[in-house]
């Protein structure tokens, strides 16, 4: 019994060594811009790895925004492949290129793959992750799926490690299952900062909980996405009171701009 136990331990150690040596190979990380998250991630989100983002169905768009942000950070002006299922588009809406451009990403770099089912989507993702010309590959799933098991996850991880591309899995309306992902996030929508100026209204903000981190601690942060700088940041807190009712607000006149710069 103990002999078997020690043999198992030895094998585990071997696997650990193989994995860490691979991981150490590409230990280049990209800072997110949010200091708390970056320190937990030891400098930023790892390239050449798989990261999972889970959320409840209604927070789908917030999670999409977060994944878009991650993809923008890690892809560094290289092409981005976005794989999604037909069903996901019906349920959560289609990824809008105008919206993507508004977040500060370049729609020219995005290739969209509309896979009919989960199997085709997974296969395409594995293919794409093996291509070193891509900066990041996003796989968008809606709902629980049997296809995405530990084996599939390991395949993706190995492909990503070999090529250097980063895999981002967006799992909407799904519960986490065992996987070989480097990090796992749980996403919720966050309010606009209280009492913000109009310029901060509706700035994409996320309540991101890091529930798994293979090489560091976990945590939970409110992050804001800076569309202009194309990075995350701490939420902006404005001391000013809420502005007046918006319905009859004058159209964006010059003085509003002045005020914003001052704020």
């Amino acid at each position: 019994m103990s002999a078997r136990g020690s043999a198992l331990a030895a094998l585990r150690g071997q696997i650990e060594r193989i994995e860490t040596s691979d991981a150490a190979h590409h230990h280049d990380r990209v800072a997110l811009g949010h200091s708390g998250a970056d320190s937990a991630l030891k400098g930023g989100i790892a390239r050449a790895a798989i990261h999972e983002v889970f959320c409840e169905g209604r927070y789908g768009t917030a999670a999409t925004g977060f994944v878009t942000g991650l993809a923008g950070r890690v892809s560094a002006r290289r092409p981005l492949l976005w794989v999604r299922q037909d069903f996901s588009e019906r349920e959560a809406g289609a990824l809008s290129m105008s919206g993507l451009a508004e977040l500060g990403l370049d729609p020219r770099r995005l290739v969209m793959v509309r896979a009919a089912d989960a199997e085709a989507a997974l296969r395409t993702t594995a293919d794409a992750l093996a291509c070193d010309a891509l900066g990041a590959v996003v796989l968008e799933f809606w709902g629980e799926t049997r296809q995405f098991d530990l084996v599939a996850s390991r395949k993706l991880t190995l492909a990503a490690q070999a090529s250097g591309a980063t895999g981002l899995l967006l799992r909407m309306a799904a519960n986490p299952s065992p996987s070989t992902a480097e990090t796992r996030w749980l996403l919720r929508a966050a309010h606009s900062p209280p009492g913000a100026l109009w310029s901060a209204w509706g700035a994409p903000s996320f309540d991101a909980e890091l529930v798994r981190n293979r090489h560091g601690p976990v945590g939970r942060w409110i992050m804001e996405w800076k569309c202009d700088e194309c990075q995350f940041s701490e939420p902006s807190a404005y001391p000013q009171p809420v502005a007046a009712a918006p319905a009859h607000r004058p159209h964006q006149a010059g003085f509003v701009g002045e005020q914003r710069k001052a704020g």
């Binding site: 209604r58 927070y59 789908g60 768009t61 917030a62 999409t64 925004g65 878009t68 290289r78 092409p79 492949l81 588009e89 959560a92 809406g93 289609a94 990824l95 809008s96 290129m97 105008s98 919206g99 993507l100 451009a101 508004e102 977040l103 500060g104 370049d106 729609p107 020219r108 770099r109 995005l110 290739v111 969209m112 793959v113 509309r114 896979a115 009919a116 085709a120 296969r123 395409t124 293919d127 794409a128 291509c131 070193d132 010309a133 891509l134 919720r188 929508a189 966050a190 606009s192 109009w198 310029s199 901060a200 209204w201 509706g202 994409p204 996405w225 569309c227 202009d228 918006p246 319905a247």
Partner: protein, 506 residues
């Protein structure tokens, strides 16, 4: 060369006929040999046939199935020449110029073709002649005739005029004029024939006599390059098929390379021993010049087929053709990783497209319109990679939060709004997908007028609001139509306009 064939599905030797409705009466559409020996002929009403032979077997004609069968035979005939034309209802033209020697001469080719079709149970009549019309006329008379160049007039001179397949009226007219054989008609002056029966008939006659030829209309355009491999012993295993394809790819690439071409569209045809032909096509975004890439694309495609390649008793021929090719511009391979990346990306897109279909891999082009759902056009990434990576997108407004949602519904989803600030205000709460959302923050309205200059029917102005609910979810909602200004009920009274969710912000 022309061949016409009819399937004889007759297990017993009972005379059978096929009938179809013509001018409100059932007439004989086709018949077998036994039936024709009884004195029946095509065009005879069924009632007459029944009166003559009460216990004759009668089948309904299936014109669509006939056409499909003819198409299948034409597919099979592709093995003799790439130029195969249909001559409905049951004829085929094969342009065998320059092909006959591959089969051991014209006579051998004719024999192979007739025997193979006869084995399948078709009654075949085939002939080879210098012009298609002449060959067709000869098949009406007897099978197996081969006419040397220049001997057309002599060969068909003695045949009756009905075999020319001209209009019924013309054939009757010729008979009444006492011109019973084609030779009789040919002996008249051409201008007399033209004056009496029209220029079309006189052209037909000239072609039949071998004076000038009308080109046939092939089913498929001639591919730029064709390579094929025939097997004495049919192949059936996946390994052999894959090996054959990669060898063919090598040969194809070598011959394209000589002319500096690369393939944009490739077609692999598998000819089964029982006559069925399966063609598989792959397209590429940029000209392919490497056989390894062709090989890989076909492997992806074959793996992903919904109905896999069925070898049956084996394939006796595999053909690979490049139906669209382009001149390859050799690019300078320098240390610029950008060129390499673009090539890699194009190759990846080709592979994914081969697997799941070209329409499922898209890139986006901005459109010059304010209508949100039309602002972006999805185009095939294979064909528009260069355009989509270089197009200019409208710049976003600096230091503004996103003005357009990250997720957009293809069809705006209706929401229930109990009350809103009139006339132009936002709602205070709304119900979407059975959940109530209390509006906490609002930005808007942003008024988007529909494009009246290209309207099909209704054109309602939309007022868009960006709203945030108590949970922090952000919606892009709009009121479809101005309040008390655009929406009316049947009696012309103003109605309150509907509200919709069009998208979601991150």
């Amino acid at each position: 060369m022309s061949a016409s064939s009819e399937r004889q599905d007759n297990a017993s030797n009972e005379p059978s006929i096929v009938v179809a409705k013509e001018n409100n009466a059932l007439v004989i559409h086709g018949l077998d040999e036994a039936a024709s020996r009884l004195g029946l002929h095509i065009g005879l009403p069924l009632a007459n046939a029944r009166a003559m032979w009460p216990d004759i077997r009668v089948f309904d004609a299936d014109v669509v199935a006939d056409a499909r069968t003819l198409d299948d035979i034409a597919d099979w005939c592709d093995r003799f020449t790439p130029l195969v034309a249909l001559d409905p209802p049951h004829g085929l033209f094969l342009d065998i110029t320059g092909c006959a020697h591959l089969f051991g001469g014209e006579a051998a080719l004719l024999q192979v073709l007739v025997r193979a079709l006869a084995r399948q149970g078709f009654a075949v009549s085939a002939a080879i002649a210098g012009t298609s019309v002449c060959a067709r006329t000869l098949t009406r008379h007897a099978s197996g005739t081969i006419v040397a160049d220049g001997a057309e007039a002599e060969a068909i001179g003695a045949l009756p005029v009905s075999m020319l397949d001209a209009d019924e009226a013309i054939t009757t007219g010729l008979r009444r004029a006492g011109l019973k054989t084609i030779g009789d008609v040919a002996s008249r002056e051409p201008h007399e024939i033209t004056a009496r029966f029209g220029a079309r008939f006189s052209t037909l006659l000239r072609h039949a006599l071998g004076q000038g030829d009308a080109p046939i209309n092939p089913r498929k355009p001639l591919p730029d390059y064709i390579v094929e491999k025939r097997f004495a012993e049919p192949i059936a295993t996946d390994t052999m098929i894959a090996m054959t394809l990669s060898r063919l790819a090598d040969t194809l690439v070598t011959s394209m390379e000589k002319q500096g071409k690369g393939a944009r569209r490739l077609e692999a045809s598998f000819f089964r021993t029982d006559g069925a032909v399966r063609s598989i096509m792959v397209e590429t975004g940029r000209p392919v010049t490497k056989s390894a890439i062709i090989d890989r694309l076909f492997r992806e495609r074959l793996d992903a087929l919904a109905d896999p390649l069925d070898p049956g008793f084996g394939f006796d021929m595999v053909r690979l053709s490049a139906s669209r090719t382009e001149i390859v511009v050799q690019e300078q391979r320098d240390l610029d990783s950008h060129v390499h990346d673009n090539d890699e990306l194009a190759a990846l897109i080709d592979r994914i497209a081969a697997r799941i279909g070209g329409k499922r891999v898209v890139m986006h082009l901005p459109q010059d319109t304010h209508i949100p759902e039309r602002a972006v056009l999805a185009v095939s990434a294979q064909h528009h990679l260069a355009a989509a990576t270089q197009v200019e997108w409208p710049a976003r407004t600096e230091s503004e939060p996103p003005l357009r949602p990250l997720r957009l519904f293809e069809r705006p989803e209706p929401i229930k709004v109990p009350f809103a600030t009139v006339p132009d205000g936002p709602p205070h709460q709304f119900t979407w997908r059975r959940a109530l959302h209390a509006v906490v923050r609002v930005e808007g309205p942003e008024r988007i007028a529909m494009e009246w200059w290209r309207q099909d029917g209704k054109a309602l102005t939309r007022d868009y609001f960006r709203v945030e609910d108590a949970e922090g979810l952000r919606f892009w909602i709009f009121r479809d139509g101005l309040y008390e200004g655009e929406v009316f009920d049947d009696e012309g009274k103003p109605m309150s306009p509907g509200w919709y969710v069009h998208g979601l912000f991150a």
